[in-house]
């Protein structure tokens, strides 16, 4: 177990209130207490909220393995009936994680303001996998999986008092923050959409951080970031996991300094990505000022439709968007293949990104919930399981569509409406989840694409793709131009992709 040796110091059931001294690196302690008794083993004494009978004790003395409150699961020791609150529980990730964690024995609560449903509707799009209203989803979860989810409709920014009351009522030991808009093109439509994205994401997160300080400061926060914060530096410099290792050295004028512990450079590629960068700083500061503990999870591009729980019943399915604003690339490609639209590569189509399947992302989140950071620790992971180019993915989707479903899939290059490098080096590090938290990817990309084809080819889903096929081709230009992108060429990619894979693909520390 990756968290066997963790102690109460990491446990969100610990009560450190009034026993810590909030400082920053390099900040002096103004008043030294010369009377401290050095005969004591430790001066931080904690209490356990779950086991008050322990009284005041040394929080490093009991390990997760030894504590009866921590129980073994396939993903590490987890608190018995752990209280996890998911913000954005109605979304693609939120709903899937809710069912996953509740099935694992967690007491899941969640909030949502239905923004995702509303904004997708505003764009004239819809989820191609039909989902019901929240009440019906909750009933289905109870009927099919026997799980209870405690849900409230709350906007975490505008209804801060309601959120605070709900958190005080539930006292979550872990908070998963998925309550953000995850669309670059949406934030680039016009000033209103840019403002709405940044307001929702940046201010919502800021409000949450203050609420956590005042209600559950020991709770562990899992905040969803994005690999897109880093950009794609043309030097090919590795994309570290958020923070420079101590071995990264800055050399200048014959002198050198360790960059260890400093945030790595960010180069966001849309106003949405800027909101995530701002979040990073807000979370980082909150950990520093108030000893909150947080994972900033730099997730790669997500794809897929399957977990055992969402596939258990049609009423339990999670939403899936394929429109130009909310559809991620693989999900969109499969939908295009199903209704005969050539898969769209933007520009050269040689953009390279990190990816992760829905099921694997759920496992990663669970492993991180099992391994809360230490008090005040701002930790970062790059949550990806492989690296692919857009061309390589188009080819894979075309191949699966042709070979397994007999679909005549074509691929086209269109004008790139974004401002981005469409040919660039890419070396992302993703060592922590496998090495520290025991994660091994389980999902084979071709198998998951196959599953997606199966679902998308069912009459109801295929009909829903057909109904909204006009929102797949991009019309949102970073430049502000209002026009649909034009096709540059139809491609026969086979030979080129093989070359591309051999020369350019590299998987680092997978």
């Amino acid at each position: 177990m990756h968290n066997t040796k963790y102690t109460c110091w990491n446990c969100p059931a610990i009560d450190l209130a009034g026993k810590v001294d909030f400082r920053a690196c390099g900040q002096s302690v103004k008043q030294f207490d010369k009377t401290l008794d050095s005969s004591q083993e430790t001066h931080i004494m904690a209490e356990c909220k779950r086991r008050p009978e322990l009284g005041l004790y040394d929080p490093t003395a009991i390990t997760f393995q030894e504590c009866p409150q921590w129980q073994e699961t396939p993903y590490g020791y987890i608190l018995k009936d752990m209280r996890v609150m998911i913000l954005g529980i109605d979304g693609y990730l939120g709903w899937t994680l809710a069912l996953w964690l509740a099935s694992l024995g967690c007491k899941v609560s969640g909030v949502d303001n239905y923004n995702r449903r509303n904004w997708v509707k505003e764009r004239g799009a819809h989820t191609i996998v039909p989902i019901t209203r929240m009440n019906e989803r909750l009933r289905a979860a109870k009927d099919v999986l026997g799980i209870n989810i405690n849900f409230r409709q709350i906007d975490i920014y505008t209804q801060r008092q309601r959120l605070k009351e709900f958190i005080e009522e539930v006292k979550p030991e872990s908070i998963v923050h998925y309550a953000e808009f995850a669309s670059a093109p949406f934030s680039m439509i016009d000033v209103e959409h840019a403002i709405e994205t940044q307001k929702n994401n940046v201010l919502g997160t800021l409000a949450l951080l203050f609420t956590m300080r005042d209600t559950v400061p020991e709770s562990s926060l899992l905040k969803l970031g994005t690999m897109g914060e880093y950009g794609t530096p043309l030097t090919g410099r590795p994309l570290f996991e958020g923070i420079f290792p101590a071995e990264a050295v800055l050399q200048w004028n014959d002198r050198e300094w360790s960059l260890g512990g400093e945030l790595t450079p960010r180069d966001p590629v849309s106003f949405y990505h800027v909101s995530k960068v701002q979040d990073t700083f807000n979370v980082y500061e909150a950990c520093k000022y108030w000893w909150l503990r947080s994972f900033d999870i730099m997730q790669g591009v997500i794809f897929g439709v399957h977990t055992d729980q969402v596939a258990a019943d049609p009423r339990l399915r999670t939403r899936l968007d394929i429109d130009e604003w909310f559809g991620t690339i693989i999900n969109r490609f499969v939908a295009q293949a199903v209704i005969g639209i050539p898969l769209t590569l933007y520009g050269l189509g040689k953009q390279i990104r990190g990816f992760i399947a829905l099921r694997d992302a759920m496992e990663c989140m669970t492993r991180l919930i099992c391994a809360p950071p230490e008090p005040g620790q701002y930790a970062v992971v790059n949550q990806i399981s492989g690296i692919h180019s857009a061309r390589q993915l188009a080819y894979t989707v075309a191949k699966v569509g042709k070979e397994h479903f007999n679909l005549p899939v074509q691929i086209q290059r269109v004008e790139n409406p974004r401002v981005e490098a469409d040919e660039h080096p890419f070396e992302a590090l993703y060592e922590k989840l496998p090495k520290r938290y025991g994660f091994e990817p389980k999902v084979n990309i071709e198998e998951e694409i196959s599953r997606m084809f199966e679902l998308f080819l069912t009459p109801e889903v295929k009909k829903r793709i057909e109904e909204r096929k006009q929102v797949i081709m991009p019309k949102t230009w970073w430049s502000g131009v209002k026009k649909e992108v034009e096709r540059l060429e139809l491609l026969d990619l086979k030979g080129e992709i093989e070359e591309d894979e051999r020369v350019r693909m590299f998987k680092v520390h997978g």
Partner: protein
Amino acid sequence: MSECECLRFTDKNFKQKVLECDLPVFVDFWGSWCPPCKMVEPIMDELAKHFDGKVIVGKLNVDQNQATRSMLNISGAPTFILFKNGKALAKIIGARSKKQLLDFIETALNPQSSKTSKKTVSKEPERS
């Protein structure tokens, strides 16, 4: 908390394990809220292996062990102090690469034969 190769010192054992130790002792004073401290963690384990039997390498959490922090006037994290015969021989504050820490320790222990460039390591006198 991950398993580590280096020792963990506390208020209770600091006198015996550090100040009264026959070998030089290199101590990392760290806090869990300090990102540079977290990034130096693996290096401390490597130093422990590197100096096996010659220098004791360990760390002390400044929040869990406030008496030692107070006694040594630790004002920032990470602070590294090399102790020899109960005395602080040299001290630096802030993250360093492995090479810089190796140079720091070797320079402090062998001031005459050091090949270290003074530009890469700043050495401060012990203040307490």
